[in-house]
């Protein structure tokens, strides 16, 4: 069992008071807080090792390069990749999807199809829309049912010989939906030769994602949502796929030979990492992954599940509160909420006066909000440093805010 009180001690931000209250941080879906271990290692690299990677022949550069490249090895273990070269560093999930959409779609034929779901984050919609427009591709969306889960029958009906890419969310940042990825992948692969991409932005921080076991082809990860710094993420992909793909960004460090009229590419992973990478952020991410592995991902998952059960029962008992949350037995600890007659922005401002940090808006899931006829929701997400008391505070603050606003 996770001891939240002990974990909280690693996160200096919880020493802060917000409007005279203790901080009840329930916005980890937007970004997670950072433990001292991550903050300290980054500061330490700047103080003691800083030099550009892959360039110098001097001690500092060699030290920084080793630390940077070691992160691939740590991450290989973290997601059970086949090979550490399959780990490509990006700015985050958004850049990951843009990289994949740009590199994969140019090899497709006109009228080929990409399948997404209705509840995807904009990062897993817009890059595909842009590529589809450029290459004449079609996008289809898997329906979300009344329980806020994927309609698997509908997915089956969409799969054809034209389906070339299926890209879906591993854990919804709105409803907490946790699709059975292994089953879906095996279904997709049996009915098409599509490449399967998993959006791990919310899933990877909370659950052990074993890329080999799931049978997926690519996984996009956001560093700052899993205790790491901002500006760093990972795209994992099968090596044979990376080898067959063209780079999207050109520049230093991604080349083998450069002539005035042509160039050849460095092998993966460097082929996809043009320019000076955010190596200090990557080193911070490596420590974040280690921090989670030390707790163990099974403990992290158990904590998410038990906190979710508690939060669900608490929130569903609040009069007048509409909770958009997966009705499945398995779901993430994420709750989008709305109140009839009160705006989400008002509620979140009122919650802030109690020291409760939640996000209000469409959470980059605008099409699904539109489908539900909701302008905006406010969203609470729990993580390893949250406990039942945080959701008690949330529930108390929501009830009082509703009274004030109605």
């Amino acid at each position: 069992m996770i001891k939240v009180d002990d974990i909280k001690k690693d996160f200096p931000i919880f020493e802060r008071k917000i409007n005279g209250n203790k901080l009840t941080y329930l916005d980890s879906g937007a970004t997670s807080q950072k433990p001292n271990q991550v903050i300290d290692v980054m500061s330490d690299v700047y103080k003691n090792n800083n030099a550009n990677v892959h360039r110098g022949t001097y001690v500092l550069s060699s030290e920084t390069t080793s630390k940077y490249e070691e992160v691939r090895v740590k991450f290989k273990k973290f997601i059970n990749a086949y090979n550490s070269d399959e780990i490509i560093f990006t700015k985050g999930c958004t850049e990951g999807f843009n990289l994949l959409a740009n590199s994969l779609c140019k090899n497709l034929n006109k009228d080929d199809e990409i399948i997404l779901s209705e509840i995807e984050h904009h990062a897993n919609i817009i890059p595909w829309q842009m590529a589809a427009k450029k290459y004449g591709l079609n996008i289809k969306y898997i329906k979300i049912d009344d329980s806020y889960n994927l309609d698997l029958d509908h997915l089956n009906s969409l799969l054809t010989s034209k389906t070339k890419i299926v890209s879906i969310v591993g854990e919804s940042n709105m409803s907490g939906m946790l699709p059975n990825i292994k089953e879906i992948v095996s279904n997709v692969k049996s009915k098409s030769d599509a490449i399967f991409i998993l959006d791990g932005a919310q899933l990877v921080p909370h659950r052990f994602v074993d890329v080999q076991d799931l049978g997926i082809d690519f996984l996009c990860v956001s560093g700052h949502k899993m205790l790491g710094p901002t500006g760093i993420g990972v795209v994992w992909g099968r090596k044979e796929l990376w080898d067959s793909m063209d780079p999207v960004y050109g520049g230093g460090d991604m080349i083998e030979e450069v002539y005035y009229d042509k160039a050849t590419w460095a092998p993966v992973p460097h082929k996809f990492e043009a320019g000076t990478p955010p190596f200090v952020e990557a080193i911070g991410l490596g420590v974040a992954a280690e921090y989670l592995m030390n707790i163990t991902m099974s403990e992290v998952q158990q904590h998410s599940d038990s906190l979710r059960e508690y939060a669900k029962s608490k929130l569903e008992n609040i009069d007048g509160l509409n909770v958009v949350h997966s009705n499945s037995k398995n779901a993430g600890c994420t709750f989008a909420m709305s109140v009839e007659g009160a705006h989400a922005a008002d509620i979140s401002l009122m919650l802030d006066t109690y020291g409760v940090a939640v996000r209000a808006g469409h959470h980059c899931v605008q099409p699904f909000h539109r489908k539900l006829k909701l302008d905006a929701t406010f969203r609470a997400t729990g993580y390893i440093y949250n406990n039942e008391e945080d959701f008690d505070t949330l529930a108390y603050a929501i009830e009082n805010s509703i009274k004030m606003l109605k």
Binding site: H343, T353, M404
Partner: protein, 136 residues
């Protein structure tokens, strides 16, 4: 009353409420008793974009003076835009443009007036000033 005097008057009232909860309560009351905004004016032409809440602003020029009507789908934002429109209404474009006093700093409304929130009230203030400066 000049723009500065109106800002000072509202500042004094807001300062009566030491904690943000009471300040928001005051803004909610202002929103509830504000003049009704015609539904037909809630159109894109008058929309001021905000990330979390929507705000509409209708400017009008009468006898060399500017008048503003405003609305928001969120109550606290509506209270705030009601104050802002009453401050800048019945003023000349020149006076609005020349008014250098920073309402953001004066009102001490923290997150509510922070540009980081990309909220409608902040964008609205910018729109009022831009509208006035174009008329000079």
């Amino acid at each position: 009353m000049s723009i500065e005097e109106k800002i000072s008057k509202y500042k004094k009232t807001l300062d009566l409420f030491p904690n943000p909860q009471e300040k928001y309560q005051y803004l909610i009351e202002q929103a509830k008793k504000s003049e009704e905004f015609p539904v037909e004016l809630r159109v894109d032409e008058f929309k001021v974009n905000g990330c979390q809440s929507q705000v509409w602003l209708v400017p009008e020029e009468k006898d060399d003076k500017l008048f503003f009507k405003s609305d928001s789908d969120a109550l606290i934002a509506k209270g705030l835009v009601t104050l802002i429109t009453s401050i800048y209404s019945n003023e000349t474009a020149k006076d609005i443009t020349n008014s250098k006093i920073d309402l953001m700093d004066e009102f001490e409304l923290g997150v509510l007036l922070s540009p980081a929130r990309r909220n409608g009230a902040f964008s609205m203030l910018k729109t009022i000033k831009e509208f006035a400066s174009k008329l000079i």
